[in-house]
Symmetry: C2
Subunit: 194 residues, 2 copies
């Protein structure tokens, strides 16, 4: 039978995530990727196909690890608190991001999705998942009285998604706690009052 693979596919995929995350799709070469992943070019093409396929795998892995994990962890938390912890996490991540890599999903939304239908659908789907999470939180919060009912839950969820994207973008150019927390403060004031 066949010789088994000499590397851990998940481990090298995570190296690829790091590359794409910190430098983007176009700016990273397949040679850079192979070197960083610790495998040879042919092994890379064998295991992952071409550069675009590898990016797809990297994005899927990132989303599962980062977004999926967060949504799952906060699924059981009381809604108002879940939202607060969500944003607190995002802000801490953004401020601790010395390389200013931002979020691979947001980066993909700007660099890859606009020119590539498959990636646009993938990114749009994840964004809708996040929006749906926000909507569940807002609806539950409105039901238990912790979140205002004076605006439709759907619009509040949209606002939460928009603000999330805004924080992710601004943090890459102005990683400033006062700015990021200043964005969130009026949002929670709105959720709380009225």
């Amino acid at each position: 039978m066949a010789r088994p693979r000499g590397f851990d596919e998940t481990a090298v995929l995570e190296k690829a995530v790091q590359c794409f995350w910190s430098r983007g799709y176009e700016a990273v070469s397949v040679r850079d990727l192979a070197a960083e992943m610790g495998i040879k070019g042919a092994s890379l093409y064998n295991a992952f196909g071409d550069k675009r396929s590898l990016y797809r795998r990297a994005l899927d892995h990132y989303v599962a690890q980062t977004v999926g994990d967060r949504l799952q962890r906060l699924a059981g938390v009381p809604p108002r608190e879940a939202l607060e912890r969500f944003y607190a996490e995002i802000i801490e991540r953004s401020l601790n991001d010395a390389e200013r890599k931002g979020c691979l999903l947001v980066n993909s939304a700007l660099e890859v999705a606009p020119h590539d239908d498959e990636f646009r659908e993938v990114v749009a789907g994840v964004l809708k998942d996040i929006e749906a999470f926000f909507l569940r939180c807002v609806t539950a919060g409105q039901a238990d009285g912790s979140i205002t009912t004076r605006q439709p839950a759907a619009d509040l969820a949209r606002l939460l998604l928009g603000v999330l994207m805004g924080i992710r973008v601004l943090a890459r150019t102005r990683p400033d706690r006062e700015l990021l927390e200043g964005i969130v403060k009026p949002v929670f004031f709105l959720l709380d009052n009225l």
Copy 2:
């Protein structure tokens, strides 16, 4: 004396803006640029220097034409109305953007600014200009009673900047009126009430 330039520098610069705007920095080659600008490679290097310098010129031109113009047009408008018209313009622009180019400033904030100190300063400066415009609007609105005083003007301005970035990002993947207007609606509800 010298032979005069055979092309209009501003006109070809605007062609370069279109290229960088729709495809990004890395994905556009100097050959693409020269062809689209209708000049030869040597003329491009003569007139604008290298690719990075041309991008800088293109970004500056875009900012002056697009951002600067908008802030100037709305400077004399009553504050609450200025904010409303600002967002209405942004949403219409985003929905009419068939190529999903988004905003060159936001695109630069994600593709170029994180890895290039000069561009980071340029982008951060423009973002601060926009934030300052929002702050002037909010402060004036709080003074004339058209905007709530129950949150600090500085935080409301930060929220307005964050939401603007969020709209610009989301529109490139999900150019959907319901989504974009749904983000803005609770923001104005917050500005109006309380």
